[in-house]
Symmetry: D2
Subunit: 280 residues, 4 copies
Amino acid sequence: MNSDSHILLIDTPDAVGLIAKITTALYKRNFNILSNHQFVDEQHSHFFMRTAFEGSGDTADLLADLEANLPAAANVRLAPKGKKKLVILATKEAHCLGDLLIRAGYGDLNATIEAVIANYENLGDLVKKFNIPFHYVPHEGKERLAHAMEMAEIAKKYSPDYLVLTKYMRILPPEFIALFKHRIINIHHSFLPAFIGANPYRQAYERGVKIIGATAHFVTDNLDEGPIIHQAVAPVTHRLSATDMARAGKDLEKLVLSKAISLVMDDRVFVIANKTVVFE
Amino acid sequence: MNSDSHILLIDTPDAVGLIAKITTALYKRNFNILSNHQFVDEQHSHFFMRTAFEGSGDTADLLADLEANLPAAANVRLAPKGKKKLVILATKEAHCLGDLLIRAGYGDLNATIEAVIANYENLGDLVKKFNIPFHYVPHEGKERLAHAMEMAEIAKKYSPDYLVLTKYMRILPPEFIALFKHRIINIHHSFLPAFIGANPYRQAYERGVKIIGATAHFVTDNLDEGPIIHQAVAPVTHRLSATDMARAGKDLEKLVLSKAISLVMDDRVFVIANKTVVFE
Amino acid sequence: MNSDSHILLIDTPDAVGLIAKITTALYKRNFNILSNHQFVDEQHSHFFMRTAFEGSGDTADLLADLEANLPAAANVRLAPKGKKKLVILATKEAHCLGDLLIRAGYGDLNATIEAVIANYENLGDLVKKFNIPFHYVPHEGKERLAHAMEMAEIAKKYSPDYLVLTKYMRILPPEFIALFKHRIINIHHSFLPAFIGANPYRQAYERGVKIIGATAHFVTDNLDEGPIIHQAVAPVTHRLSATDMARAGKDLEKLVLSKAISLVMDDRVFVIANKTVVFE
Amino acid sequence: MNSDSHILLIDTPDAVGLIAKITTALYKRNFNILSNHQFVDEQHSHFFMRTAFEGSGDTADLLADLEANLPAAANVRLAPKGKKKLVILATKEAHCLGDLLIRAGYGDLNATIEAVIANYENLGDLVKKFNIPFHYVPHEGKERLAHAMEMAEIAKKYSPDYLVLTKYMRILPPEFIALFKHRIINIHHSFLPAFIGANPYRQAYERGVKIIGATAHFVTDNLDEGPIIHQAVAPVTHRLSATDMARAGKDLEKLVLSKAISLVMDDRVFVIANKTVVFE
């Protein structure tokens, strides 16, 4: 995206004429629209718009114009330029973390990984290969809240735009989540809302499903019930044990998490109530 | 399948040497194996085998040999020749029923549809086009059990091998299900075990999932919890209302139900506890 | 869609300010936009827009306004109200035809089937069940052009909006195609551009592919090379013979053709050069 | 797999009684079959079998017995124990290579990466992070054959079981391929046989396909025409440029290549003529 390219993000209570007002404001300044998505959530009567545009006009003036002419409750902003900053929370599994490290290191992720925090030590070697700070914060002998807040203190030093949980296997307390509202992305290893909670592959095996899945979602106070960003599935047969399913599911987890992160990094995801609007 | 072709179906407590004993019994009679599937369910230590073979040998003698040499609890049989007989239970929706009528009528289903029983009248015209008996059995003013047994009486006259529920929208009582154990195939309009019960598309919409599904399963006493035969899914976006999802889901329902029926008709499905072994 | 709902379809050489001009014209007449899609094909510098809107304003006045203010070469129109009319060309296979008959008859297709024309007689019984005219036009002993024009004469009597080929297995001459430019929808039984021409399942078997597909496209003078509307695929294994693949492919063909028709019926498909823009 | 577990691999001209002979030979030695797959390629009248078994019997004796009793042309062997050795050929792209490095390093690949050979230098840093030898063998100013043989000399020093091409972008000469017959695994960035040769994403964009794919295959003398091991696809829309498709395709490439390698490492893939038999 060159320096004359911008992404305009608007969400607002719905009203007649919104697109006309917004695109006219752009046109008056000779901005050229490159791509444009809108959606009205009928249930909440709320309007969403993501517009990529280019031109040498005055964007501050544009924003002022829009704020003056759109509903008072409208949320109008330009997506910040440059790569967003991520801090990753991990436990022991390497596959999602490794995938993100390769992507971030070789240009496939519109983000930088600022640091990795883990409650086990084994992933340190992997992270350090990529010259990224690794913080080992064991949870043993600590209250859940104290442990989480210790991680939060470390994370905040890196001013992350988002936290990403790459199979971080402990429940985060509400106090932690409140610090990063709609800014924590988790990968759950099932096709939510099926198999919430612990050991979803074991649950899937017991139920005898013919398809397994993975779900990336924003973390809220209700375990595995936050707004879903992306999901994918793969077929399985009676031949797979719970362990086989877990192995087969790793690729799904990598794929779904990285796709969700990519959508969020590109400012394509809005949250409304407990759902997402995803402009692809 | 010509008259010298057979399908041997065996399930038995596991033991060493089962395949050797079975294939030797076939070889001794100069039967040629066309395709062969085996599986051992480790959890229940149970062995399953489906063998298609051909030859002019004596199959009664084969079965006697197998019964004498396999574990006493072994279940050994040849799949019956010819098309299986189906009786369909329907409510108001035409898509699954219509799909099966076309398939049965034009050679895409290894079964005959003997009759359709429905608790509404509107599908009668469709069924009669295909010269198939249509029984309108309204449920209004009847006890659930009495209504179900009225349908059972009609169904039994056709000596069906299986009942198929093409979006039959009422719960069947245990007394009915007991008459057709593991012989009732239902299509549920969600990716089970997500969204059990009523109005799964509404539930899917409320949860904001990015994928919808359909599940074909054998009916048991626990609603939507019987052994799963086949499942499939399709992506959805925030743009779809619950009604849109229901519309989009119809194709999934048709596809999943007809595939499940096809697998069962071809004797490719075994039930073990609450799961299926499907030999494709 | 109630009588105050409309779909505006615009394609035009690209220019700055198109969306502003169009949505302002709608807003001035107090029309409310229900959904909106735009796309600019950069290669051809061409702009496409589909806008669903509602309101009691004067649509003739709207169109006049747009034509006056958009580029002279702009193509501006409202989608006609009501169901579109289809004439189907078939050969011998029943599955796609049967699927469309059920859909059209039971509310799953935004179109009416006016007539079916076939070069074999066997599908007549099926078509007549649905009280639709069936024209048997054998090709034997006729020149290709003469045969095609005989079908064209019959088709034209029904004033079809589109022709649909449900596995019509003969090549149509350019003179026929010219009569229905970008108005003939074909289903090809492969994942185009793989396996153009005859017997694609045999070709797929010979090549040993692990996935088969189906492709719906507009018919042009180049066999199987017209603009692609929709495609889908399914996995296969070494176990499937060419005949097995053909059987497995039938469901894909039904699904892809009906989806493509549905997209075209809803005015969601634009053609640019040899490609389509599909607004879902 | 414990030391008493083995995988028996047999391919042979077909005959009656093969399974009986093989499983009886196992049973006589009290070997227990864990899983078993067979297939007869009717076209070539050739039989394939992969049997996982366990027991403390004498496997040399088993093999001698089988060789004595199966057709003279039968190919009978036990899969070698332990991880197979890979040498990778790369050019400039990091995604497939990086994915394999993470998998091999963290237990998700039943193989070791012995070395990476590349005709560009940029991937050296990545490879060295994982303490794996990196050989930079520029092709500039060299004949194709000479360059390939320079790589072959290096590869042979590592006694690789298989070579893997992680987007190695040059054509390998027949002399090179002959050294590693059916032991070179390539990932092609299209749904073969569509878009053979250079720049398949550009070809896919030009054709306007609605689905893109990736194909893993064994390399033969005919470019992109070797036996296909695995394929996968993903939907695309008119919104994607050729560059967007290439980006979207990277995940497919990783997934398909790693799945194909995994199948080959587990001795699940047989080659017959120009096709594969894959026992999953």
